[in-house]
Amino acid sequence: MIEVKNICKSFNGKVVLNDINIVFEKGKTNLIIGESGSGKTVLMKTMVGLFTADSGEVIYEGKNFNKLDFDDRKEIRKEIGMLFQGGALFDSLTVEENVMFPLSMFTNMSLAEQRDRADFCLTRVNLQTAHKLYPAEISGGMKKRVAIARAISMNPKYLFCDEPNSGLDPKTSILIDNLIYELTSELNITTIVITHDMNSVMEIGDNISFLYKGQINWQGHRDEVMRTNSVELNNFVYASEFMKKLKQSLTHHGD
C-alpha cells in the first residue's frame, strides 16, 4: 500500500499539485486520470522521488519516502517497477539485456539464471521472438511489453505505469491493459496507472482518482465513473461524441 498525504508541488511559482491525498491499495489497479497538464505525471514522479515535493508525505508500507536517506530510498526503489511513457529502454542493449539489466545489477544470479528469468518475463508478456533485437528494431507496442517485462523482472512490490497506452492502437492497448491487470493480481502488487484513455478506465480501474487542475476532484470505482455528478469528470469522460451518445443511450435505457 502507498499513501500520499498532503502533497504539494509547484514549478517556478506555478502550483501543479495542491494538497493531494490518495491511498493506493495493494493488489489493486489504481488509476490516476485527468486531462493533459493536470499534474498526473508530476504526481507519479514525485511519488518515486524523481521530483521533490514542496510539502507532504509519500508513505510506502509505513516508511516515509521523503524522510529516507539516499541509501534507504534506493532500497525502496529496488521494489519499484516503472513503465515509462516512451518505454525508456536502454538503446545500447538488446531486449533480453534490457530485462536482465536490473538482475545483473542487484542479484547474484548467474548469467544462465538471468537469461532464464528474462525469458520467463518476456514470455509472460507474450514476446518470445525478440530477445536479440535492439529497441530501435521493435514496434511501440513491443517496447511497452519489454518495459513491463523489465519492470517485473525483480518481482516488484509496486508497479508504476505512465500512460501505458499512449501511441498504441486500440487492440494493443487492450492487450497492455489486460497484462497490467493480470500481473497486479498475479503478483499481488500495488499498481498505479496514469491514463486518459477511457477504455483503460473501464477495463482495469479498481480505484480511480480524477485529477483536475492539480487537485483530486473525484475518487471511486470504475462502475461509478459513468454515473458521477462531478461536472469536471463528466466533461472529461464524455468529451467525445461517441461517449456523449453512449451516455444518452444509457440514460434512455435507464428510463
Binding site: 530510498r73 526503489r77 516503472m82 536502454f90 542487484f106
Partner: protein, 246 residues
C-alpha cells in the same frame, strides 16, 4: 551568479559520481567498453592529426631557422619541444574535447530526454556514477597512451616531412630530438593529459546529464560541452604550466 550555480551543481554531481558502485563487475565491463569507445575510437583522428601537424611544425621550424648561424638540428629541438610540451597534450586534448566531449554529452543527454536516466534512478541505480565514472576512468587511463602515440607519430611526421622537403637530414633531426632532452617534459605533458582527460569527460557529462527538453537541447548540450571543456582545458593549461614549469 549562473557560474556559481553551475560550479556548485558540478561539484554535487561529482560527489555522487565518486560514491561506491552498486556492483564492481558491471562497472568493470562499462570501463572496458568506454576504453574501446573513447580511447580506441579516437585513435584514427589522433594518428592523422599528429602526423600532419608534426610535419607542419617541422617545416615551419625549418622555415624560421633559415640562417647560417643556427644549426640544422635546432629544427629537431624546436619540433620536439613544440610537440611534447604543447601540441600533443593540449592541442590533441582540445581535438578530443570536440570528438569525445560531444559524444558523451549527446549520449547522456539523449538518455536524459528519453527518460532512460529516470529509469536507472527508479531501479535504485546511482545513475551519475553508473554513466559517468566509467567514462572518466577510461579517459584518464587511455588518454596518456593516446598522447604518447601522438608524440611519436608527430615526430615521425616531422622527420618524414623534413626528408621529403629537404629541410633537414634524418641525422640532424634525430640528433636535435635527442639534444638536451629533459624527461621531465614528458612527465609534465602526461600530468596535463590526466587533468585534461578528467575535464573533457566530467564537463561533457555534466552538460549531458542536466539536459532538459528534446533533440534541440541535446544538440545545444553537445555544443556547450565542447565549448566549456575547451575553455576549462585552456585555463588549466595555463595554471598547470605555471605550477609545473615555473
Amino acid at each position: 551568479m549562473k557560474w556559481f550555480f553551475h560550479i556548485g551543481r558540478y561539484y554535487i554531481m561529482m560527489s555522487r559520481v565518486f560514491s561506491k558502485p552498486e556492483k564492481w563487475s558491471i562497472y568493470r565491463k562499462q570501463f572496458i567498453k568506454e576504453v574501446d569507445n573513447l580511447g580506441l575510437g579516437s585513435l584514427g583522428i589522433v594518428v592523422i592529426i599528429s602526423i600532419f601537424m608534426g610535419a607542419v611544425i617541422t617545416i615551419q621550424s625549418a622555415f624560421g631557422f633559415e640562417s647560417p648561424w643556427i644549426p640544422l638540428y635546432a629544427v629537431g629541438v624546436a619540433s620536439r619541444d613544440s610537440i611534447v610540451l604543447e601540441f600533443s597534450p593540449t592541442i590533441v586534448s582540445l581535438i578530443l574535447a570536440g570528438k569525445v566531449g560531444s559524444n558523451i554529452a549527446s549520449e547522456i543527454g539523449t538518455m536524459r530526454v528519453t527518460e532512460q536516466i529516470d529509469a536507472l534512478e527508479i531501479m535504485g541505480i546511482n545513475s551519475k556514477a553508473y554513466l559517468i565514472l566509467p567514462k572518466i576512468a577510461a579517459a584518464v587511463f587511455i588518454n596518456p597512451f593516446l598522447i604518447v602515440i601522438s608524440m611519436f607519430l608527430a615526430l615521425l611526421g616531422g622527420l618524414t616531412a623534413g626528408l621529403m622537403t629537404g629541410a633537414v637530414t634524418s641525422y640532424e633531426f634525430i640528433y636535435g630530438i635527442q639534444y638536451d632532452f629533459r624527461p621531465y617534459n614528458v612527465t609534465y605533458a602526461l600530468i596535463k593529459t590526466l587533468f585534461f582527460a578528467f575535464i573533457i569527460t566530467s564537463v561533457s557529462a555534466y552538460h549531458g546529464y542536466y539536459t532538459q527538453g528534446g533533440a534541440l537541447e541535446v544538440g545545444k548540450s553537445s555544443t556547450n560541452a565542447v565549448v566549456f571543456s575547451s575553455i576549462v582545458i585552456l585555463l588549466f593549461n595555463f595554471i598547470l604550466t605555471q605550477i609545473l614549469l615555473s
